[in-house]
Amino acid sequence: MNDQHSTHDSAGGALERFARDAFAEEIGRTDAAARAHLAASRKLALDALSTRGARLRSPDRTLRGAPAWAAAGIAAAVVAALVIGLQPGAQRTASDSDPGLVADMAASRTRGADDLELPAAADALAWPTDLVLVASDDPDVLDVLADDLEFYAWLENQPELASIGDRR
């Protein structure tokens, strides 16, 4: 048992040495453009230190960011409508006079409201990947999304960005 343990330990040690050596070599290979980008990112972040606070939540920035997000929302709604519209069976539910729909509604009435809520909630998620987002147990999901809004609003107003983009 001890022998087996020590074999495992030495193998684990060899693996760690191998990984650290390979990683150290890889760090040495980091190209100048990436290093320059990182340095510029560092400078941008440190500049935010002296001006952080009220700047990021000023009303004009929020308003300036709104049209872009409104456009994104409209685009998402159009895509969702297209996806739902293209799904087989979508036409059947579009017609009020469809006997199938009437039968479904009658059946729903007899089943009660609880049965109606489940498919409605599932339909609201346009893609299976949405389920991953919604069902994620990561508490930082909303935090990350909020940070995105805040970060990109701030980023829009950084003149240094143009030079970073050119450098890539």
């Binding site: 890889e26 980091t30 990182l38 299976p128 990947t129 987002l133 994620s136 970060f151």
Partner: protein, 199 residues
Amino acid sequence: MKACEDIDGVVTASDDAEAQASTRLELERFLRDVEVRAYRIALLGLRDRDDALDAVQDAMWRLVHRYADRPRGEWRPLFYRILQNRVRDIQRRRRFRSGILAIFAGRDAGDAHVEDTPAPAHVDPLEQASAGNAMRALEDALASLPTRQREAFVLRCLEGLDTAETAAAMGCTEGSVKTHYSRAVHRLRTLLGAHLGGD
């Protein structure tokens, strides 16, 4: 009394400025120290140069903006926690996009097998040409690990965080870190056996 208050006010403002300058200096030193390794770690998870640079930039900005006032000893686990979250966030966006692409390509979204794997490596061709086989093998092996095992191994072994720091960075208990790390080592040993000199 008024004069005293004014003098106190001046002294306080001066102290604040000094404290901010000191914090800035320490933050700069910290970021300079971790930035290249952080970029490489992000690259291991994302395998896309631009995404990795974006993730590190976001992490730097958020650390400075949100956590500059925290004790210096907390910066490293905090920074890597932010970075891991950004990496996961980018991976989620990729999953979302691959889901949309799968729908418009007429396939079942569940067929998008790229969902849980990093994007194909997209690095500088010169860099790629000179890169060693060892790192390529390590990257491929790490890419095959579950996310939490990969994070535990990268943070513990490559970045050198201790168990407590890794737990803080991963947002889990130290026991979980040990479990993830042990499983990662076991799996990597199997995958990289040929590169480990007879082990």
